[in-house]
């Protein structure tokens, strides 16, 4: 016979509004084995917690049911409470009557009835709970950061400064990310390179940071505190240990590749560094552009290299890294707008994407900072189109959040660098942020024209060849606008990296439908993920600007530190085990386990589970035909009992 205590939370009116909480507590007290049942305004508050602790002692409770919010919210809190009161922390069941009852039900009768059914299920389940003991493991002290943009750089420096070892993995040949492509940053208009490059250098120089550029993650094993990550070092065909960064090779190279850094506006060499301040300042060979790789002849670079650093035979290699935590900061892409034919991107040379425009302003860019069209002429009229692919059910429903501000920045830079008339075609201007509204006002005063209406079409002018006509309705006057311009800048949707789903799979992160990584809780755990020990920062989570990205990076660094600053940590005890007496030796468990936790003991003819590898998914338990595998805390008996309880009322 168990002694169960039931504690029903009102959560203020959150629960009490659609569930009669006192009736629920009364109902609980009629259920077999329930020795005490109470309701209280806020169970998670200190008095609420004390109430539970006191009842455990007074009524000699051996099981506790908290009927409140989602277990994802407070299971941990209440586990601590009952543990402090002397119970094993697994003798707790949470009934989720807030997220899954009161908030989704309007009728109080229905709400109360559903809550009763759920509570009854919990009582059935609680009777069968068993105490479990947690495992204690050693924690690796290093942190891996995936992505060398501003988020990754910031997090790496923060962590390295605390004395922890950091592995910064970047798939390109330099760190810096998108921020390195920008000319100015809004709203302060300070030079992007001026604030970024010192940080890039600091990363290179830092004794605690191992910089791994031109690398990709190929395998992730292990779990929080004990990640075992295999990193693929892509072949650079240049031995960086020998290279002294004289860059003589890049001068002689005849191969031409597309400059990623300049958004394809110009070409670069096959052996190259992406941009002058790249870190590391050592070149790589782009196989797809290299004359030798394409035609089998050339090797000019090899000839000019005094260090004998060129190595055409180089192969991809694999490096194993052991860390305790991981920060994923893989950044974003801009949407390819060429499928949206009405805007003419890719068809009319006068249509630019936002990142292309960024490069036009940059003094290290293809035009050395002069704003000229592809034919070299200076534009007379420029239209900046907001929300291209963003806020659009046909493409991406989210607001990309930074476009309004960088479009204003573009307007300012166009005004500064040209004499052109500048038009903003917008739906709403979103300028929430420190100094943003002020920046908006400043741009208005700079005589930029704002037309409220989403552009319907960009067409070629029939009167003036080469010019473009932008068609939209000015929704404020209701007039149809046909505006002749020379240049159109699109603000495309900010979207996840093309490989974000793949990265998500490697690290076991959930993604939303487009591929942004899901945080554990949108408000209270925005940097944590469902995978313990793996954190996210920056635009891989959602579109955001540089200040927010940097803030997240610092936050993620602190989160990672809470793990790697410990020498040992406790793991959930909810693993699977085999009852050898019932095992029939079919080896189904061995065949299905994604972690290789069950192994077959041929001598005894039974399976055995290595609990250090087990993550507690329970797959083995469900494929076990003889029910020999016990998925702790989700045993067959417990689940069956809960189902029975749920179906009674």
């Amino acid at each position: 016979m168990s002694r169960i205590g039931v504690f029903v939370c009102h959560c203020g009116l959150n629960i009490a509004k659609t569930i009669r909480v006192s009736e629920l507590a009364e109902f609980a007290s009629t259920l077999p084995d329930v020795v005490v049942a109470r309701d209280y305004r806020f169970m998670c508050s200190t008095p609420g917690q004390e109430m539970i602790a006191n009842d455990i002692k007074e009524h000699r409770l051996d099981r506790v049911i908290v009927t409140a919010c989602s277990p994802l919210m407070h299971e941990h809190t209440f586990r601590k409470v009952i543990e402090k009161a002397g119970l094993n922390q697994y003798m707790l069941t949470i009934v989720n009557i807030r997220e899954q009852v009161s908030w989704v039900t309007s009728d109080i009768e229905e709400g109360t009835a559903k809550a009763k059914a759920l509570l009854n299920g919990a009582v059935y389940r609680a009777r069968l709970l068993a105490p479990l003991s947690s495992r204690v493991i050693d924690v690796n002290s290093g942190v891996m950061i995936v992505g060398g943009g501003i988020a990754g750089i910031q997090a790496a420096l923060e962590l390295a400064n605390t004395g922890k070892k950091v592995y910064l993995v970047e798939k390109n040949s330099t760190i810096g990310g998108h921020m390195a492509q920008f000319d100015k940053t809004f709203p302060t208009l300070d030079c992007s390179a001026c604030i970024l490059t010192p940080k890039m250098d600091a990363v290179l120089q830092h004794p605690n940071i191992t910089l791994m550029t031109y690398c990709e993650i190929s395998e992730v094993k292990g779990f929080v505190g004990n990640f075992d990550i295999k990193v693929r070092q892509k072949a650079r065909y240049v031995n960086h240990d020998k290279c002294n960064a004289c860059l003589a090779c890049t001068e002689k190279c005849p191969g031409k590749g597309i400059s990623e850094w300049d958004e394809g506006l110009v070409k670069r060499k096959a052996i190259h560094i992406p941009f002058p301040q790249a870190v590391p300042q050592k070149p790589v060979i782009d196989r797809d552009a290299c004359t030798y790789f394409l035609k089998g002849k050339c090797r000019l670079c090899e000839k000019v290299c005094e260090q004998k650093a060129i190595d055409f035979e180089q192969q991809d290699t694999f490096i194993d890294v052991k860390v305790g935590a991981v920060i994923v900061a893989t950044g974003y892409n801009l949407m390819d707008t060429s499928p949206l034919v009405q805007y003419g991107y890719g068809k009319y040379p006068g249509v630019y994407s936002a990142l292309e425009a960024e490069r036009l302003f940059n003094s290290a860019g293809p035009t050395s900072g002069k704003v000229t069209l592809r034919d070299g002429k200076e534009p007379q009229a420029i239209a900046i189109l907001h929300c291209i692919g963003s806020r659009d059910k046909n493409n991406y429903e989210h607001c990309s959040r930074v476009c309004c501000m960088y479009s204003l920045k573009f307007a300012h830079l166009f005004k500064e660098k040209t004499s052109a008339d500048v038009y903003q075609f917008y739906i709403d201007i979103r300028a929430a942020g420190k100094g943003y509204e002020e920046f908006y006002n400043r741009i208005i005063e700079e005589d930029v024209k704002f037309i409220r209406g989403k552009v319907a079409r960009v067409a070629e002018s029939s009167d003036e060849p080469g010019r473009l006509i932008v068609e939209a309705e000015d929704t404020i006057t209701g007039k149809f606008v046909q505006l002749p311009v020379d240049m159109v800048v699109l603000s495309p949707a900010m979207i996840p990296r093309e490989d974000s789903k793949e990265v998500g799979r490697l690290f076991n992160l959930s993604t939303d439908k487009h591929g942004f990584f899901m945080e554990r809780h949108p408000k209270l755990a925005p940097l944590s993920t469902m995978s313990e020990g793996i954190f996210i920062a920056g635009t891989c989570q959602s579109p955001k600007d540089i200040p927010d990205t940097v803030a997240q990076a610092n936050g993620a660094a602190a989160e990672a530190l809470t793990i790697v600053s410990r020498e040992k940590m406790e793991l959930e005890a909810t693993t699977a085990m085999v009852n050898p007496a019932s095992c029939c030796g079919c080896q189904n468990c061995v065949r299905v386990c994604p972690y290789g936790a069950p192994l077959f003991n041929y001598e005894k003819g039974v399976s055995e589970i290595n609990e250090a590898l087990c993550k507690g998914c329970g797959l083995c338990a469900s494929v076990c035909p003889t029910s020999a595998i016990i998925a702790r805390h989700f045993t067959n008996e417990q689940v069956l009992a809960e189902i029975e309880g749920l179906m009674e009322f």
């Binding site: 039900t105 799979r505 469902m530 998914c617 329970g618 797959l619 989700f634």
Partner: protein, 143 residues
């Protein structure tokens, strides 16, 4: 009185249960008929759980897991997909209405999908009426 079905929901912790929480956080209302059991992964679901639920008087069973490829345990739901497909065929061949058992992939971000699925499934079960076939005889007498 109108027929209010009892529906068992079995949701994986990482996607569908979290998605169901999101439906709550965003205050999406849906019918109260689904009672959810939380398991760590849809692959934890033993087909006999489903048979048992029907015997205990469930009018419908709704299983929710991560989208294939998004499983927190990498491949759990890919096994689950096969196993539950077989479960469905077995129930169907035994003569149970196929509409009473449904598997949906609902991610943690799809609170609205959870609400929609529950809405739709509840309506469907209401249409089908009470499940009498697998229900234990003693329970039928009670009803």
């Amino acid at each position: 009185m109108s027929f209010e079905p009892k529906i068992l929901g079995i949701a994986c912790n990482w996607c569908t249960y979290t998605g169901a929480d999101l439906a709550g956080t965003t205050r999406l209302h849906y019918p109260p008929n689904v009672r959810v059991v939380r398991v760590m992964c849809s692959s934890r679901i033993n087909p006999s759980f489903i048979f048992r639920a029907f015997q205990l008087g469930a009018d419908g069973v709704l299983v929710g897991g991560c989208h294939p490829g998004d499983c927190h345990y990498n491949t759990g739901n890919l096994y689950a997909r096969r196993r539950l497909a077989v479960t469905k065929k077995i129930l169907e061949f035994a003569g149970l209405e196929p509409g009473r058992f449904r598997v949906e992939w609902i991610s943690a971000s799809e609170g609205n999908k959870f609400a929609e699925v529950v809405q739709e499934f509840t309506a469907q079960i209401k249409e089908l009426g009470p499940q009498q076939k697998l229900k234990i005889d003693e329970l039928q007498e009670k009803a």
